[in-house]
């Protein structure tokens, strides 16, 4: 890392064609490795475990506590004036943007103050969007990127990983849930029943790691709301499910269809590794989410120097005849088939270059035949 090269982070992913550079960026590689380090540090560790927190961590948590107090202090605006989310959230956000540099300055060691220009945007983006009054996994990612940057600056080291997840990130979750419920924030671009949760993702990753090796709880147990309630304090996963049970209505298998399906997975280790794959496929590779990500010198859009493991894997596998052919799916291919990765449909491709043009005649049928001469209109049906 070069010294004193801090810049205000900028959005770099402007269209679907920028996804590939993102996938091969230093940011992608380092961020994922960072998540894996955090994840591995909490395997089998309960949220309530006795952890040593240094002063910096305590200050940090107090700062987040302060934010939570603001939430209590800000009065809601007249309900009849609101479309859905309460516009009072904008007061919170204004205050956050105004005071964030000062808040962070008070907490962080003075040798990192040069980096504030880069850190502040990630921090303020972590708490939702003020125009749309919504919150989603992209905002959550911003907070993790913020922590990632701090670790890169040396503010936290790898010994702090447990504390980062179980204390600081956990505290951040409380603040966000408080915001979500008080200001009725909308789920930002949620995939509804096809997503693991409308708002969060990371607690399901870290929380499933915490449950690895649990003697009494298997994935199937979280379908029982009483079990979840009784054990919410031991794992971020169960805590998140508990929050879902408290806030959602309707049958669980409908509103949290993904969680319902995942409960059939035999053990937590499998759930945990699946969560990582899903996080990549559903968050990091989805254009609607990552188009909002910002890049600077710490979270860098530069191309990684390392050769991608996926291409390595393919060559290795093809050389190794003992491997069954099913394994040839590279673990981190940029565009996997089907539902689990970003796909650019052919039609979408063409529409990026051709915007809707005004035509002289409204005869669509004729136009369609002209455009697709090989296709009869309506297109021929396949024979049964």
């Amino acid at each position: 890392m070069t010294e004193n090269a801090f810049v205000a982070p900028e959005k770099m992913i402007k269209n679907v064609f920028d996804l590939n550079p993102w996938y091969f960026s230093k940011a992608y590689e380092e961020y994922l490795a960072f998540l894996h380090r955090l994840n591995d540090s909490v395997i089998g560790v309960h949220t309530t475990a006795d952890l040593r927190c240094n002063e910096l961590v305590i200050d940090f948590i107090e700062m987040l506590d302060g934010l939570e107090k603001w939430i209590d202090e800000i009065p809601l605006e007249e309900i009849s004036e609101q479309r859905f989310g309460n516009k009072a959230f904008r007061h919170f956000y204004e205050k956050l943007c105004k005071e964030a540099p000062e808040l962070l300055k008070n907490v962080l060691p003075s040798n990192t103050h040069d980096a504030l220009i880069e850190l502040v945007p990630y921090f303020t983006e972590s708490f939702g969007n003020s125009t749309r009054i919504d919150y989603g996994s992209g905002h959550e990612a911003n907070f993790l990127i913020f922590i990632f940057c701090l670790q890169k600056l040396g503010v936290f080291n790898d010994h702090d990983n447990q504390v980062l997840v179980l204390r600081i990130f956990n505290k951040y979750l409380r603040v966000c849930r408080h915001l979500q419920t008080k200001f009725k924030m909308e789920p930002a671009g949620s995939r509804g029943v096809h997503a693991i949760d409308d708002f969060q993702f990371a607690p399901f990753i870290f929380g499933s790691a915490q449950l690895i090796g649990s003697k009494s709880l298997v994935p199937d147990s979280y379908l029982k709301s009483t079990v979840v309630e009784a054990n919410a304090h031991i794992s971020l996963f169960l805590d998140a499910v508990n929050f879902i049970n408290q806030t959602k209505t309707g049958p669980f298998h409908e509103h949290s269809n993904q969680l319902w399906n995942i409960s059939a997975v035999p053990h937590w280790k499998k759930v945990n590794s699946g969560m990582f794959k899903m996080y990549e496929g559903e968050v990091l590779k989805k254009f609607p989410v990552v188009q909002h990500l910002m890049f600077g010198s710490l979270f860098s859009f530069e191309r990684t120097e390392h050769i991608k493991e996926s291409s390595e894997d393919i060559s290795q596998i093809s050389r190794d005849d003992s491997m069954p052919p099913v394994c040839q799916m590279p673990p981190r291919a940029p565009a996997q088939h089907g539902m689990f990765a970003f796909q650019i449909p052919a039609a979408a491709n063409s529409s990026t270059v051709r915007s809707a043009t005004v035509v002289e005649s409204g005869d669509l049928r004729k136009l369609h035949t002209e455009k697709h001469p090989e296709e009869r209109c309506p297109p021929p049906m396949p024979e049964p």
Binding site: D198, G274, F340, A347, A356, V358, L364, C377, P378
Partner: protein, 334 residues
């Protein structure tokens, strides 16, 4: 398995009494088109066999590609907003608004994605459109596109339920030719999202080439993506990543230029299900109650009869005991 309450929920009829007894089935080539049978299945939250679904889509494409971009509709008519795959709430909507063809409907798009029953929802609406083309109008929403429905759930659902993506492909071909606007009594314009800075008149809306995937910029995109805002005067780029945020001034200009009284749209969650903005020049209708099972919002349909306007509200149906599906683990966890 299914108890009595659930049976009652399943028995909500979407058509007037006796309508489904008269068969209007016919043959196209070797394919049998059976509107009544299909509606019966679809209103029980079932989806069609693949060949029937394809036949349904092909017939609709044939018919819809002859329609103009903005279809004229005469009142009385009931206008509905986003459904997002909430099938049982759609049945509740028909209970609230009345059955077809006695009640004439305009749906303003976003039938699929997010909810649990996108396929069943869009199947039911398409079957009704097949049988009652003059009593139901389906507009295109921003989710009726490949780019969006691949990401937000409809594709996954088709993949899971049919085992492949062919039916999704056919549905998307129908989406391509759905009209983008409805003009009620030459006085109320209905679109999914809102206005576009490139569109000043209804005539220019008529001239767009709509038979394509929703582009990510340009007028066709804006119509389905834009949002109104009180704090904006004319046009601001939308943070959604497509479309614009537009204000009262441009809305009034548009209505005046086209001699209209109201712009009706959906596209945004509204807590009460219905909200006027810009001094009753713009109305947002939302028809997905308790959106995403968590928002706790009410839903509404908006009835227009000449100069008479009535909003009818409804809430999410109680769970009953809908059938619990088998757990299917996503490939991530295999």
């Amino acid at each position: 398995m299914i108890d009595r309450i659930a049976e009652n929920i399943l028995r909500v009829s979407v058509c007037d009494e006796g309508e489904l007894e008269k068969s209007t089935s016919y043959l196209i080539g070797s394919r049998k088109i059976e509107p009544e049978q299909w509606i019966t299945w679809a209103s029980e939250c079932k989806y069609l066999p693949e060949s029937d679904a394809v036949a349904l889509c092909a017939t609709l494409i044939d018919r819809l590609s002859m329609e103009s971009n903005v279809v004229p509709v005469s009142s009385p008519v009931t206008i509905c907003g986003d459904i997002h795959g909430q099938f049982y709430d759609l049945l509740e909507l028909f209970k609230t608004g009345g059955t077809v063809p006695n009640t004439k409907y305009v749906f303003m798009g976003d039938y699929v994605d997010r909810g649990h029953y996108s396929l069943e929802t869009v199947t039911l609406l398409f079957c009704l459109l097949l049988k009652y083309p003059n009593h139901i109008t389906l507009l295109r929403g921003n989710h009726e596109s490949r780019r969006i429905s691949n990401v937000y759930g409809f594709y996954d659902e088709c993949q899971n339920k049919y085992g492949h993506g062919n039916v999704h492909k056919w549905f998307c071909k129908v989406f391509d030719v759905l009209p983008i606007g409805a003009l009620i009594d030459d006085s109320v314009i209905c679109v999914h999202g809102g206005l576009s800075p490139d569109i000043r008149t209804i005539d220019s809306l008529m001239l767009l080439d709509r038979a394509q995937e929703v582009p990510n910029k340009g007028p066709l995109c804006d119509i389905m993506w834009s949002d109104p805002d009180d704090e904006v005067e004319d046009w601001v780029i939308s943070q959604r990543g497509a479309g614009f945020v537009f204000g009262a001034k441009v809305t009034e200009e548009f209505l005046m230029n086209n001699n209209l009284s109201l712009l009706c749209r959906s596209h945004q969650l509204v807590d009460e299900g219905f909200k006027y903005m810009f001094k009753e020049k713009l109305a947002t209708v939302w028809s997905a109650p308790n959106y995403c099972y968590r928002c706790g919002n009410a839903a509404a349909v908006f009835e227009i009869d000449g100069s008479n306007r009535v909003t009818k509200y409804f809430n999410a149906v109680p769970d009953g005991s809908r059938e619990k599906p088998e757990r299917v683990v996503a490939p991530y966890f295999l």
